[in-house]
């Protein structure tokens, strides 16, 4: 029987290498639940073994239940009839299976029926589900909605909704975007008013229209709305929980390029009853930011899963397709494409795992700090550690999403290229992967917004100590040369950062931000692949392939960044007009 975990050596390698000790310590709190729940672990090894078994279960379901339905899901598409949204049959069946297998409360605490597993393992599960059916991920991968309720809502809301999420009897949606508020969520106009007596803990009423809402037909909606009349920016927005039903109407669903199984809804709210989540005015600034960060990691994992599927299809095809008397795999022009695809995927997976691990540490320390008394002698240290991980997570999350969602577009396009004319036809799945991939660098923050988030962290110097550590790391032969090349990439990065800082022009920095972020991401991945190469010989080749190309690209990018050329800034309109 195929299994998307067991058949993926690199995924297993990354899982086995994950240092989960601290995370398990903090999440399991000295294994305090072992006596209360028969499925709680007794020690570290037990917890790891549980994670591995659950990932293998996800791999089994993905390969044997979800993937065989994916083509039909794509053809059937989500439908809108008489005011109701219907999932394709395969989607509904797959959701039923995932719920039956206890997989819809992956990271939620056991108290609410969840599995209490780390985010990094959830990301691995998302990768496998997306490899099977990218559209299904938009529902399976929305578990951050429950997590947001868990992290910020009051106990009454948690007790009411979280068990339903964990058992898979409800699905959710993040209801943020509006026709005039896309990337710029500060412009959200949907209004929220407390009912007559004005008690903010009571019922609120929501009015407005939301657009492009993934799974907007879900049962539990987290709605960003303006609770402070007259306010204009993000500080006037709060987050609300609205149940499907009274005052909530899906007006239409979109016809899309890809992820056909996932309904993208336009929702009209007319005096819809709502509950405030957490505190007023913190909707965008705190809660949605946290929700989006989780979702960004999930989308990065989705992208990685699609890339994995596309690479495997391309590799299979290149083995079996013969032209000029030999398999096309034997031609340099083809094997280089495939090698690039695979190297990007392995680099991406390494970065994603590292990001997931850091996000887990941030969350775990955050919860620990919350539970601690300020007078506790360890409080300060825990608080400092949490802040450090938060800083790192804030940088690595957009870097991961940026990288994964860009390379999946390249990888799926290349997969079609390897297939030649056949890849352009519906007979092969690669055209679907290509279509499904295209949304990933748009939703949950476009690539351009990930660059904005990442460049801030790079220019602020938050990452400098980490880069410095990478530079100082010495590798034994034969990795020494690669270590030096990595050092050169880091030199280029420093040079670029120093240059734009000295230039001190917002527009110039914005123009080159992507190039700088690309150098930083490549350096980080190069470092991770080198570390992998230390323990696994086969990875030496992967690291070399990645770092030599990254070094050449860093040179070219740095040359542009440090050119100081202002032509485009001054004359872009002339260029756009044409001649």
């Amino acid at each position: 029987m195929p299994n998307f975990f067991e058949d993926n050596e690199d995924l297993k390698f990354n899982f086995d290498r994950l240092d989960l000790r601290k995370i398990i310590d903090l999440k399991e709190n000295e294994f305090a639940e072992a006596d209360d729940y028969d499925y709680a672990p007794h020690d570290h090894e037990d917890a790891r073994d549980n994670y591995r078994r659950v990932l293998s279960l996800v791999g089994d379901l993905s390969a044997n239940f979800i993937e065989p339905r994916a083509e039909d899901v794509d053809l059937e598409e989500a439908r809108y009839e008489n005011g109701e949204v219907h999932y394709p049959r395969g989607t509904a069946e797959a959701l039923g299976r995932l719920a039956d297998a206890d997989l819809m409360g992956f990271t939620l605490p056991r108290r609410y029926g969840g599995l209490n597993m780390p985010t990094v393992t959830y990301a691995m599960a998302i990768e496998m589900v997306s490899r099977a059916d990218a559209a299904l991920m938009t529902i399976f991968g929305l578990q951050d909605i429950a997590e947001t309720i868990h992290d910020f809502a009051d106990d009454a809301l948690k007790d009411a909704y979280l068990p339903q999420f964990a058992e898979g009897s409800v699905t959710g949606a993040m209801v943020l975007t509006e026709p005039d508020a896309g990337s710029d969520l500060q412009a959200v106009a949907t209004s929220a008013q407390p009912e007559e007596n004005g008690d903010e803990a009571g019922t609120w009423r929501i009015n407005g229209v939301k657009r492009f809402i993934t799974n907007g037909c879900g049962d539990v909606l987290l709605v960003l709305a303006r609770s402070e009349p007259g306010s204009r920016d993000g500080r006037g927005l709060s987050l609300f929980l609205v149940e499907k039903g009274e005052g909530v109407r899906v007006r239409r669903i979109e016809e899309k390029l890809g992820i056909h199984g996932s309904p993208t809804c336009e929702i009209q709210f007319t005096n819809a009853p709502a509950k405030l989540i957490g505190r007023r005015k913190r909707g965008l600034t705190t809660y949605v930011m946290a929700l989006m960060n989780g979702a960004r990691l999930a989308i990065a994992a989705q992208a990685l899963g699609i890339a994995e599927a596309a690479y495997r299809a391309a590799l299979d095809f290149a083995h079996s397709r013969e032209q000029f008397g030999r398999p096309i795999l034997r031609f340099p022009a083809v094997y280089e494409i495939l090698a690039d695809m695979q190297t990007k995927i392995e680099g991406c997976r390494a970065l994603l795992c590292e990001t997931g691990r850091v996000v887990d540490l941030e969350k775990c320390y955050g919860q620990r700090v919350e539970q601690m008394d300020r007078s506790d002698p360890e409080y300060r240290e825990a608080r400092t550690t949490q802040r450090e991980y938060a800083k790192l997570a804030k940088a690595l999350t957009p870097m991961s999403k940026f990288y994964a969602c860009e390379i999946v577009n390249e990888v799926t396009s290349d997969a079609i290229q390897v297939h030649g004319g056949s890849g352009y036809m519906r007979d092969y799945p690669v055209e679907r992967y290509f279509r499904d991939a295209r949304i990933t660098n748009i939703y949950e923050g476009t690539t351009q917004l990930q660059v904005v988030a990442a460049i801030g962290c790079i220019l602020s110097g938050d990452l400098a100590p980490y880069f410095e550590e990478m530079r100082r790391r010495e590798y034994d032969r034969p990795l020494g040369t690669l270590g030096k090349q990595l050092g050169r990439i880091l030199d280029r990065l420093d040079k670029c950062v120093a240059f734009v800082k000295k230039k001190n022009s917002r527009e110039y920095t914005d123009l080159h931000a992507r190039r700088i972020v690309e150098i930083a991401v490549d350096a980080w991945i190069g470092h991770l692949l080198l570390e992998q190469a230390v323990v696994k010989e086969k990875k030496q080749i992967t690291a070399k392939h990645f770092i030599t190309r990254a070094a050449a690209q860093a040179d070219a990018r740095a040359r542009l960044v440090t050119s100081g050329d202002q032509t485009l800034i001054r004359k872009y309109e002339t260029v756009l007009e044409g001649t």
Binding site: D38, A40, P41
Partner: protein, 303 residues
């Protein structure tokens, strides 16, 4: 109160994973070269049992006969949601043909206090005899329906079931107690549940414990017995001890079990070597393909 449902399951070598060393020189199966799995159609039987329990209430008990490692499929059964499992294991049960096997399982079913419904997979992928189900019904003197794909209704100790027949299906009304055999067309077995995996991965049968506690066989018997007793007690407290019954436990007449109880004798095994002798050209047309498919279906290569 609900129905007492027993599922008979077998651990089999995965004959779908045949590799070069799957056969010994004498033409018999090299079991150690193949992964041991839950016989696929027994899983369909278990799925049907779990669905019946979910719909009508009751309790599902899975019984398997085999060496201690067959406990593996009992853990799988628990992870899918079975309520109880029994491992029938005894050196005296070994090398049983279907007559001896159905006798032994029949004794075990009686030991459980009898069943309203017994479900078996249509056949096992190692022997392909499809005899255990019907023989067991005969042995227990209860009715049987083979090739059942669906239980349409269950009320007043009568089941209305749909069974596959050549070229179609028929609907039968059967009195309980009833034995049914289930083909793979019946359903798609449910996945194990993550929480049950985490719980039951620790479930063990006593025989498995013995090799775990004393892998080299060096412990004095008293020490071993005491140690095992402690572990078994702790597991039983957590509902993690798999029932293990030997010949004595099911009051079996050992003349009728295992090799002694099996009149079948394998006289000779002839490996069938398939050789390419001729080839046939299929025209790449609708008709050519239709003919090919028809021929493959006739030869049971397909379907």
């Amino acid at each position: 109160m609900g129905y007492k449902i027993v599922v008979c399951a077998k651990q089999v070598p995965d004959t779908r994973e045949i590799s070069g060393d799957a056969m010994k020189a004498d033409g018999t199966l090299n079991r150690s070269a193949l992964p041991a799995i839950f016989n696929p159609e027994d899983k369909n039987a278990l799925e049907m049992a779990l669905e019946l329990r979910d719909r009508y209430g009751g309790k599902v008990t899975v019984i398997t006969m085999g060496p201690p490692r067959a406990a593996e499929i009992l853990r799988e059964s628990l992870e899918m949601g079975a309520d109880d499992v029994v491992l029938l294991t005894d050196r005296g049960f070994a090398v049983a043909d279907t007559l001896a096997t159905s006798y032994t399982i029949g004794r075990a079913v009686e030991r459980t206090g009898g069943a309203d419904i017994i479900l078996c997979g249509r056949q096992a992928i190692d022997g392909d005899t499809a005899q255990i189900g019907p023989q067991l019904a005969g042995r227990l003197g209860i009715g049987q329906a083979t090739y059942v794909t669906e239980v349409l209704d269950l009320a007043d100790r009568t089941a209305r079931v749909k069974r596959m027949i050549q070229g179609g299906f028929e609907v039968l009304e059967c009195r309980l107690p009833l034995l049914m055999t289930v083909p793979d067309q019946a359903n798609e077995p449910r996945p194990p549940r993550a929480k049950l995996i985490m719980k039951y991965k620790r479930a063990r049968a006593p025989w498995e414990l013995a090799s775990q506690v004393d892998p080299d066989g060096g412990l004095p018997e008293d020490d071993l017995a005491r140690k095992l007793g402690e572990i078994e007690y702790a597991l039983a407290q957590k509902d993690l001890l798999i029932h293990e019954w030997d010949g004595q436990a099911i009051a079996a007449d050992m003349e009728r079990t295992g090799y002694d109880g099996s009149p079948t004798r394998v006289m000779k095994i002839e490996p069938a070597v398939l050789k390419k002798t001729e080839h046939k050209r299929v025209e790449p047309t609708e008709q050519g393909l239709a003919e090919l498919i028809h021929e493959l279906a006739e030869d049971h290569v397909l379907g």
